[in-house]
Amino acid sequence: MSWRKHTTTSPWLGRVLGPGRPEVGCDECFALLDRYVELELAGADAEASFAGMEAHLLGCPACAEEHDLLLEYVRGSAG
């Protein structure tokens, strides 16, 4: 049996078990969020600057929600 069958076809498993790789915590995510969002909007490789942010945003719905709102709002305010 191959585990790849599960990890590639089971979004519910990813949601329950998280990204399965090193990630920052919620406090660090909040501290870095503004810079991370501006790097994303500038088209830079934000994850290269802040390793573990992307994984945390995949695993933490609360931080992901706040990230998505900030990203959308800053993008809209720049227009």
């Binding site: 498993l13 329950v16 998280g18 790789r21 090193p22 915590g25 919620c26 501006e38 609360a62």
Partner: protein, 224 residues
């Protein structure tokens, strides 16, 4: 002579740091510390800025919050965000524009308030209901392999997690209770609860990897 360390916003004194900021961000900091009428005007302007962000967040979740109490919730979130911004003004390093930095407090406060309101008076669902719901999410055509993973996961939750890890995992990961809501009910913080969830997930992934149902997790634990 060239200095040994290039001056950056992060490694300079407050005065030097101010000079490195973009003009708008520098103006915000100067006005917020100006005292007198200029500071009052800056505070009112900042509150309007935060209120706009809070209203935006709530409007994106209008189906959850309803119109009743919408304005009160937005104003309260903006008030709380203003207090947080002023309390942490010395932490602002100029790594982003001041407005981006300030807005994140408004989104945090608005989202936390909204989550708590959605769960007001609601009990955290019991575990059996959560497993049933997860089975439904896996879909009616769940494969034999996926059913095996689900069964192994359910066993592992009972066998390898501590009671506290199990309670946190069941609430946050299975029942999707918002982390802020659970933190308030348990008298702890979002960060502490998420660390517990992360450790539980890591232990479960390793247990499933031991029986070759999942790949071994990359790295050990969180970065912190």
């Amino acid at each position: 002579m060239r200095p040994a360390v290039e001056p950056t916003v992060a490694n300079t004194s407050r005065g030097a740091r101010l000079r490195l900021l973009d003009p708008d961000s520098r103006a915000w900091l100067l006005r917020l510390r100006a005292g007198g009428a200029e500071q009052d005007r800056a505070l009112a302007e900042l509150h309007r800025l935060l209120l706009g962000a809070a209203r935006f967040a709530l409007s994106r979740r209008a189906s959850q919050v309803g119109r009743e109490g919408f304005d009160d919730l937005a104003v309260q979130a903006a008030d709380d965000a203003l207090v947080a911004v002023l309390g942490r003004l010395d932490d602002y390093r100029g790594d982003s524009r001041f407005t981006t930095w300030a807005w994140k407090f408004a989104f945090y406060e608005a989202c936390v308030a909204l989550r708590k309101r959605r769960w007001l008076g609601r009990e955290v669902p019991v575990e059996d209901e959560a497993w049933d719901a997860l089975g439904h999410q896996a879909g009616p055509d769940v494969s034999v392999e996926q059913a095996e993973v689900l069964a192994a996961l359910r066993r592992a939750v009972h066998e390898v997690l501590t009671p506290h890890q199990r309670a946190v995992f069941v609430a946050l990961a299975l029942n999707e209770v918002p982390v802020d809501v659970l933190a308030e009910r348990l008298g702890t913080t979002r960060g502490a609860l998420y660390k517990t969830l992360h450790d539980a997930r890591d232990r479960l992934r390793r247990t499933l990897a031991d029986v070759e149902l999942l790949p071994r997790p990359a790295g050990r634990g969180s970065r912190r």
